[in-house]
């Protein structure tokens, strides 16, 4: 999914690596196969989950260049021309700031709003240029199209008129340049309004809803390329960073939109202003779009993917064996020993065994028909509890170490997997295996890095002592930890959070940001996958498994607790009245030595 040949520094950002690097290291996953289908899709995942890689790999340029055993299969399978639309957080901040600027009247705002339309059209034109002029030089000739010079001239004239641009010559390349210039002229115009708000040199722009511009554009292109019903797929990466006014119409267009246009939108799990399912008009089902989630991946799929990705990382450092062979394996759990040790020091556990008629000496003789299901249910809890109640030197519990457990601990997140593997490779010297303690150290380091990041994300709201996302993690983690290593043994510890008709908007927003950052993960078993996107109500989530080692938690699904209950106590009672803050300006002249009423000039600000 992500590039396996990256060094530790560059692996963190799929947006900036070259197309060649992206293709060379690309690993196919089930999510990619789903995303490659010719229907509208929403791809949901937190940062680092591989959204950008998947979206970039579907653009025509990437599919053309991709050279692997599977690439021909996918070139045949992908029945559309993919147009990748990048976004950027800083650009979005600038855009939002300019939109609020005093010097922007309604007319100027319309010019600003047209920028993103031109950005998308430019990408469309660039892909068209690629198909007409560049793909012929490639080996795959993917989506090659022949266009007579006269037809190209006419096509350019038609599109120029539709888009309101004036290319110097009637070629697609020149058309693309003119779109780039248009973006620049909008950017310059808006900037210069600061200097001269009466600037009358207003660029002529094409306004309107994006899809209503793309629809005729695609029809014109298809007509000149002689490709009736060719599908053009617009791959909007991190759509939450597009202008606000663009997002909802795009989501709405996924239902009954133009027939030659496919929309694939990647989004973070939570976006407070986008409504996908909660109104009758926008309700969607499987027939309208496929929803692909990149978190809460099934274990089998995750391990298979991790083996390929991590294998590639090891291979690029000269380690060609099966990647799992480099990892020291944890000892198999001795249930009898763990149970004996724990029941000797923990009367609550002993009581539980007695109540459930479990005799430690007879464990090997139990079957699935009697006590085995219970033993399976409690054995990891008992192991963890035994470990943390033990005094003196001890080996780390087996549930966190070994290749598969490490991959699970980072939720099979590509960015984190690459980072973790790069750390582990450093401890692989002279072909020896990576020791359990080195595995734990690397896991700990990944945790520390994530903790640092989450500590920089502020939380808005009046929660006692919770001012960052990490504070939230710590609070929830410690609550759950109590269930595992607290005073009494619990066979069914709580380990996930559930919302039941939650009306606390502030709390929902905090949970939303925690989901976007990957600190919390939506649970697979939530009632309705569609509701998970925006409607946090009634959905269920848990802490990212990366925190399990730190908070002594399991790497499996646990019972839920209602979120409002655990947060009740954290609410601050007194709200600060912000309007009480002083807004007075005091000026003191040098001629006055003491402050009196006459010496003060209070200005209303």
């Amino acid at each position: 999914m992500l590039n396996k040949n990256q060094n530790i520094h560059r692996a963190f950002n799929a947006r900036t690596i070259s197309l060649k690097e992206l293709c060379d290291g690309f690993i196919i996953s089930d999510s990619f196969t789903k995303l490659a289908s010719p229907n509208n899709s929403i791809l949901i995942g937190p940062r680092g989950s591989g959204k950008t890689t998947l979206m970039r790999m579907l653009q025509a340029e990437a599919l053309c260049q991709w050279d692997s055993l599977d690439s021909d299969y996918y070139r045949n399978k992908v029945g559309f021309t993919g147009v990748f639309i990048p976004t950027d957080r800083f650009w979005k901040e600038q855009y939002d700031s300019l939109k609020k600027a005093e010097f922007l009247g309604p007319a100027e705002e319309n010019v600003l709003k047209a920028y993103f339309n031109y950005h998308v059209i430019e990408r469309l034109c660039s892909t068209l240029e690629f198909r007409v002029n560049k793909t012929k030089k490639s080996n795959s000739k993917y989506r090659l199209v022949e266009l007579e010079k006269e037809d190209e001239i006419e096509l350019v004239q038609e599109l120029s008129s539709l888009w309101g641009v004036n290319p110097r010559i009637n070629s697609i390349r020149s058309l693309e340049s003119s779109l780039s210039n248009k973006k620049q002229s909008i950017s310059n115009y808006i900037s210069e309004l600061k200097i001269d708000s009466n600037n009358n040199d207003t660029p002529n722009v094409k306004n309107g809803e994006l899809v209503s511009i793309l629809d005729p554009s695609v029809r014109i292109i298809n007509s000149y390329l002689n490709e009736k019903n060719e599908k053009w797929c617009f791959l909007f990466d991190e759509l939450e960073l597009a202008p606000e006014e663009v997002i909802q119409p795009l989501v709405n267009a996924m239902r009954g939109g133009p027939e030659d246009i496919i929309l694939k939108l990647s989004l973070s799990p939570y976006h407070k202003n986008v409504v996908i399912t909660n109104s009758p008009e926008s309700s969607m089902g499987e027939q309208d779009l496929s929803l692909i989630r990149l978190t809460g991946i099934k274990e089998k799929e995750g391990i298979e993917f991790s083996k390929k990705l991590c294998g590639g990382v090891f291979e690029s450092s000269g380690y060609d064996n099966n990647v799992e062979s480099y990892f020291e394996k944890p000892e198999k759990m001795d249930v009898v020993k763990e149970f004996k040790e724990l029941s000797d020091k923990d009367s609550t556990f002993k009581r539980y065994l007695d109540q459930n008629l479990i005799e430690i000496d007879k464990i090997s003789s139990y079957t699935d028909k009697d006590r085995n299901p219970t033993i399976r249910k409690i054995k990891f809890i008992a192991q963890l509890r035994n470990y943390y109640l033990k005094v003196g030197r001890k080996r780390p519990p087996s549930l966190y170490v070994g290749f598969e457990n490490l991959c699970k601990s980072v939720e099979y997140n590509p960015r984190m997997l690459i980072s973790l593997m790069n750390m582990l490779i450093l401890s692989l010297k002279n072909g020896k295996s990576i020791s359990i303690s080195d595995q734990i150290s690397a896991l700990r380091r990944s945790f520390e890095t994530q903790k640092s990041l989450l500590n920089t994300i502020a939380i808005k709201g009046d929660f006692k002592e919770i001012c960052t996302i990490y504070d939230l993690v710590e609070f929830v983690g410690n609550k759950f930890k109590e269930n595992i290593v607290g005073d009494s043994f619990q066979a069914e510890p709580k380990g996930s959070l559930i919302f039941k008709k939650e009306n606390d908007k502030e709390l929902i927003e905090i949970i939303g940001y925690a989901l976007n950052s990957g600190a919390l993960v939506l649970d697979d078993s939530a009632a309705n996958a569609y509701q998970n996107i925006i409607e946090i109500n009634r959905s269920r989530c848990r802490l990212n498994y990366l925190f399990s080692h730190e908070f002594k938690l399991l790497l499996t699904k646990q019972r839920e607790i209602e979120i409002s209950k655990i947060f009740e106590l954290k609410r601050n009672v007194v709200k600060v009245n912000k309007s009480n803050t002083s807004s007075k300006l005091i000026m003191k002249s040098n001629k006055v030595k003491t402050l009196s009423k006459n010496d003060q000039m209070d200005l209303k600000l």
Partner: protein, 301 residues
């Protein structure tokens, strides 16, 4: 407008200071003040009873310095109102940024650069303090915004990646938070070097995560007491990045870098975005004594 190789440190006809609770707030006034010249000091509306604030205010008032106190926007507006009518008459201006917030120093410096007469020389001066440990409190990022409204920067080409140019300060992981928040294409880090070796150590220690994730070729050191060479280095990096990315400057760390960034921002106006971050964190007042040195640079309009 150009930054001069040599620094002008005398014959000022307008002096603008900052008034704060740190003892070093008056350090440069002691050295440069001339009671016969027009002068202002910009005070705050918070922490005015803390540490040396009142004492400092009295010091300024006793020396015929006009005191303007209040919240940022009001103070800046009032200063601009006072100065704008005859700003072109001043030929040598001193701006003491020692206790000014980044927003204040940027606003005042930008005003002087924009409205000052041609050939006017503006000297920006900073009085460093002895080392004080960084705040223990977390400083999560709540807002990312322009250093002043003038420096939003052009939207540029969205197809190009953002190149984030950051000065590093000694607050734990503040730069990491910004880098992570913006998820920029590439980060370029400027690490301050100064005579206070404890400071440099803390900068490295408290940014270790970010430093370990950044390509070595994107990490630069600058001497905070050599603003001219810092200006040249930052400017040349920005210009080279403009060809294939959208550079964004966020001068965390020593204020001298913020002032230099404003100068470059004004030179490249309105293209270059110069931004700041805010944790909306109320800093606990800490005493900072001047270490006796001063860092200065002069710009000729």
């Amino acid at each position: 407008m150009k930054m001069l190789k040599e620094v002008i440190l005398d014959d000022f006809d307008l002096l603008i200071y900052g008034l704060g609770y740190e003892s070093r707030s008056i350090f440069l006034c002691k050295e440069f003040h001339d009671e016969n010249k027009k002068s202002y000091t910009l005070g705050y509306d918070k922490n005015i009873d803390c540490l040396n604030y009142q004492e400092n205010e009295k010091y300024f008032l006793d020396r015929n310095v006009n005191v303007i106190s209040g919240e940022d926007e009001g103070v800046i507006e009032a200063l601009v109102d006072k100065l704008k009518p005859d700003i072109k008459e001043f030929k040598r201006i001193l701006l003491d940024i020692t206790v000014m917030s980044r927003h204040r120093l940027a606003s005042v410096l930008d005003f002087l650069l924009t409205y000052g007469a041609k050939d006017t020389k503006i000297t920006v001066v900073y009085a460093p303090s002895f080392f004080v440990s960084p705040p223990e409190d977390k400083t999560p990022i709540k807002k990312v915004m322009e250093i002043t409204n003038e420096f939003t920067g052009s939207l540029g080409d969205l197809s190009k990646p953002t190149a984030l140019i950051m000065g590093l300060g000694y607050e734990r992981n503040k730069a990491l938070g910004l880098s992570s928040y913006l998820d920029s294409g590439s980060d370029y880090l400027f690490i301050p070097k100064s005579s206070e070796s404890d400071f440099e150590e803390k900068v490295l220690e408290n940014n270790d995560e970010l430093l370990s994730q950044t390509l070595e070729s994107n990490i630069f050191y600058y001497f905070i007491d050599q603003p001219y060479s810092t200006y040249l280095n930052v400017r040349s990096l920005i210009l080279s990045l403009m060809d294939y990315s959208r550079p964004l400057v966020v001068p965390l760390g020593p204020k001298v870098l913020a002032a230099i960034s404003v100068v470059i921002g004004r030179e490249l106006y309105p293209k270059l975005p110069v931004w700041r971050v805010s944790s909306e964190h109320t800093e606990q007042p800490i005493q900072r004594h001047a270490n006796g040195k001063k860092i200065a640079f002069t710009i000729e309009i």
